[in-house]
């Protein structure tokens, strides 16, 4: 049997081999999304209300995350966490288990922090573009600052932020393909493994491209539906 130039059969067989690792990819996305939003929300509030020292810390954090490649952030955590633990152990006679730090943890932490920085900017922008008139109206009917935030600002800001949050989510999903560099076995890592076994990299990368593309397509459709739902209520009027 002569060797095929392009092996369709291999390509199709790749999907069921890769998909068992899809939950790992989803887990990274899920964790980074949730913690990214939490970090983003609190950092956005810190920046908006100019909480003294904290604002500086947040600014430095965002500047570093946005100013360095995700790949390097990943490596910094991958190598940095064990080294930090060893330093702690040496200095304070503590007994942290260095081997207990799994690569997945490093990925989850670094992706959450990365996502948090970008979400901060999105959320801050959304909150700041809420109509000041509505905020004043809320104060004028006797709402406290916290009530105004909860009842008026956040619902409005969510509406404004959704398209950008959706973009962040797509970026995050695709960025998970870097996790293999610190030996986390997600769909990308497994794909590379399969590719190296049969020396059929091209077929595998097509399979991976399809998986990422279909996933992102579904995500963007879901975001569209949410956006539509939210906007039916208060279409902004030209004033």
């Amino acid at each position: 049997m002569t060797e095929q130039i392009f092996d369709v059969h291999f390509l199709l067989e790749t999907f069921p081999k890769i998909m068992p690792y899809y939950p790992i990819t989803m887990a990274i996305v899920g964790v980074a999304l949730v913690f990214g939003l939490l970090i983003g929300f609190f950092c956005a509030l810190i920046r908006i209300y100019h909480v003294r020292i904290l604002t500086t810390i947040v600014n430095i954090y965002i500047s570093i995350v946005r100013g360095t490649p995700l790949l390097i952030q990943l490596y910094l955590f991958y190598y940095g966490i064990p080294i930090s633990l060893r330093l702690l152990n040496a200095k304070f006679q503590t007994n942290f288990n260095i081997d207990g730090v799994s690569p997945l943890w490093c990925v989850l932490i670094s992706y959450s922090l990365n996502e948090g920085a970008y979400q901060t900017e999105t959320i801050r922008g959304a909150i700041e573009s809420v109509d000041q008139g509505e905020v004043e109206a809320a104060y004028s009917i006797g709402l406290t600052g916290a009530q105004t935030l909860r009842r008026i600002i956040i619902p409005e800001a969510v509406k404004i932020a959704i398209p950008n949050l959706g973009n962040n989510l797509l970026k995050l999903f695709k960025n998970t393909s870097l996790a293999f560099t610190v030996s986390v076995v997600d769909i990308m890592a497994e794909g590379k493994l399969i590719g190296s076994e049969g020396y059929r990299y091209f077929e595998v990368y097509i399979a991976l491209a399809v998986i990422y593309w279909v996933s992102c397509f579904v995500i963007s459709k879901v975001v569209d539906v949410i956006e539509l739902r939210v906007n039916v209520a208060g279409k902004r009027i030209a004033r």
């Binding site: 109509d131 008139g133 004028s140 009917i141 279409k235």
Partner: protein
């Protein structure tokens, strides 16, 4: 009822309110006139602390508040007893007319929802919008939106309602709808402070007309005094220009 004493306010080095004092008795309608930049809107905003004054005193019923060292708690207390109607309505865009109206009751005053809805519907009926209860602001005309704004103000049964040019963002044919609602409130003896350019409204319903210019009260009196026999040159000049059209 409401008394402002020596209110001063500056934005940067611009003195917007130089030394303004004003007394509003219960059930009175005080209309504030003046050219733009005279500080009339700012004065209104200092009353419920949308802009905090730099110095002066606010007396609401028996309660004296020194604006320079007022506690957050007192600001909230004043806001709960006063209501504000905005030039650009400032309705909550993602809430229906009814939700706009009951927000101040349910969230700020912890009125039970059922009672709030009853009161909210009554307030909307009063401004002629009983059939627009579930409409969003974007589905309402400017005049209707402003009437929702007024319903949002009256539903909390405030001691005084502050109107900041309530009709100046409206198309001419919608102005009367809003003014009619306001006249209705006058008949109910609602205490009102109104910044407006509607001279006929001022002439018909004001208990007191206050003319402001450059951060000062230039002249005050009954509508007859101000419109028929203004004393100050500044007032005469302003009225001559306004009443010409």
């Amino acid at each position: 009822m409401l008394e402002l004493k020596h209110i001063q306010k500056a934005f940067g080095d611009k003195h917007v309110l130089k030394d303004v004092s004003l007394t509003v008795k219960k059930g009175q309608v005080v209309v504030i006139l003046g050219p733009s930049g005279s500080g009339k809107t700012t004065l209104l905003r200092t009353i419920n602390f949308l802009d905090g004054a730099d110095s002066g005193e606010i007396v609401l019923d028996q309660d004296h508040y020194d604006v320079t060292r007022i506690a957050k708690r007192d600001v909230l207390a004043i806001r709960k007893r006063t209501a504000f109607v905005f030039q650009r309505y400032n309705l909550f865009q993602n809430k229906t007319a009814l939700e706009n109206v009951i927000e101040g009751l349910v969230t700020a005053r912890k009125v039970p929802k059922v009672e709030a809805i009853t009161r909210g519907k009554a307030a909307l009926a009063k401004v002629g919008l009983a059939d627009r209860v579930d409409f969003y602001p974007s589905q309402l005309s400017g005049g209707q939106q402003q009437r929702v704004g007024i319903a949002r103000a009256i539903v909390i049964k405030p001691d005084v309602i502050l109107f900041d040019e309530p009709t100046s963002a409206l198309d001419p044919e919608l102005i009367d709808d809003v003014l009619d609602v306001m006249r209705d409130l006058v008949d109910d003896e609602m205490t009102m402070v109104v910044v407006t350019h509607e001279m006929s409204f001022a002439r018909d319903v004001a208990s007191q007309v206050v003319f402001m210019a450059e951060g000062n009260v230039v002249e005050k009196g009954t509508p007859a005094q101000i419109f028929e026999h203004p004393q100050e040159a500044r007032t005469k000049q302003f009225l001559a220009r306004i009443l010409r059209d």
